[in-house]
Amino acid sequence: MSEALKHTPLYDEHVALGGKIVPFAGYALPVQYPTGITAEHHAVRGAAGLFDVSHMGEFVIRGGDALALVQHLTVNDASRLEVGQCQYSAMCREDGGIIDDLVVYRFPEHYMLVVNGARRDVDWAWVREHATAFDVEVEDRSDALALLALQGPVAQRVLAPLTDVDLNALGYYRFAEGTVAGVDGVVSRTGYTGEDGFELYLPVGGAVAVWRALLEQGRDEGLLPAGLGARDTLRLEMGYALYGNDLDEEHTPLEGRLGWVVKLDKGDFVGREALARQKEQGVSRRLVGLQLTERGFPRPHYPIVHEGADVGEVTSGTVSPTLGHGIAMGYVPADLGAAGTALGIRVRDRVLAAEVVRPPFYTGGSIRR
């Protein structure tokens, strides 16, 4: 058996709220509260939801070569970041396989990489190994930081009375240091739901106070605590990839719908040569969005079918709570990746009709660009 599950600083809060606890990324986290995934999903689309995502990892890089190391390790161009700005990116192997997708934060004196919880150990080993050639200090702050995600169209109204950060001045993918409910932390206008919202990086000792203050402040606004189940349906409606489902070391960012974050002209970085070659030659398979055109529930590993032959498999799938029909992502041969292509998804003994669509599946979100 695997080692005991870790607890986030909010574990007791989840249990007290009746959260159904499941293992995720080595942590015991709530998949849902008694309200259920559907209600939590709709709360985020219509009002707000509060997620504990403290399983995410945070690495700090400081020193004279901090930017140079970030540039070396990640595929996006971190030199374009202003202080107080963050950027979606990825780390790749030399062969272009994705080690992780992540967000790079530029602070006045350092950079922070926010990585997936399930990849933290792999990522940290990778970062440390590459850091030796640079004049930097690297620090894994994951165990010292809690991360809350407050997401939904009323998120700003809920957060504003509790923080000294000027939220009106905080644009999408911008962040500021400040206090929330009296706790010093970082307020970042980012998220994984397609709704406006914030991610709050907090010292673990302050997490419970902020969690409770936000739930209290949001009660009359329709805020619900929300679990991993809703996080997954929300991100999938947006076509946001989940590492371990849709992204892995066997696929490159160019195959995985992340070509837009790969900046081949920024200078050398790990994986550049392989990605440049793949871009020139063209990808042989790509991650696509699929929409079921008949009733059914696509789930990971269900085969994707074209003219009777298996051509791939579903990497993520659900019935969209907002749209009411099945949506999925999966890798297919590149020549079957054009929007409108008719494919099928095999669900047990039947093949359900599906069509390639360009995500996001849901376009009505309150996200600010």
């Binding site: 849902q32 259920g36 559907t38 019935v319 047990r348």
Partner: protein, 129 residues
């Protein structure tokens, strides 16, 4: 604690068999415990009237947000009715599993339909409550 009514008969797979008005006819659905474990139910695949099943045959599937689960027929029988209301509102299985959330009505084709099934106390033990 989940609701486990007396007078019903239960399978280890969390279906219930509930005697209907007529002798030898039963309503079949899933228990309160099962719906709680599955979470929000999105839709069901149920058989048509006239279909026949042996005991513990799969008679349908329930698709919840978290997982898909097979439905096992507690007793050999023929389907005499299907709950059409679940087509429009599968969440009835979540909100009222033993009432509005019934799935199929069966006419048993075996002489002792409830033998081998658990009563409420045994089922409570089975799920550890």
């Amino acid at each position: 604690m989940s609701d486990i009514p007396e007078g019903l008969h239960y399978t280890a797979e969390h279906e219930y068999l509930k005697p209907a008005e007529e002798d030898g006819v039963f309503l079949v659905g899933i228990t309160d415990y099962a719906q709680g474990e599955l979470g929000d139910i999105v839709f069901l695949e149920l058989p048509s009237v006239g279909a026949s099943f042996n005991r513990m045959d799969v008679f349908g599937t329930v698709e919840a947000v978290k997982a898909v689960s097979d439905l096992y027929c507690p007793v050999a029988g023929e389907v005499v009715a299907v709950n059409q209301a679940l087509e429009d509102d599968p969440s009835l299985v979540n909100s009222d599993p033993y009432g509005m959330g019934w799935m199929i009505k069966l006419r048993a084709t075996e002489p002792d339909p409830t033998s081998g099934l658990m009563d409420a106390a045994a089922y409570a033990d089975h799920i550890g409550e």
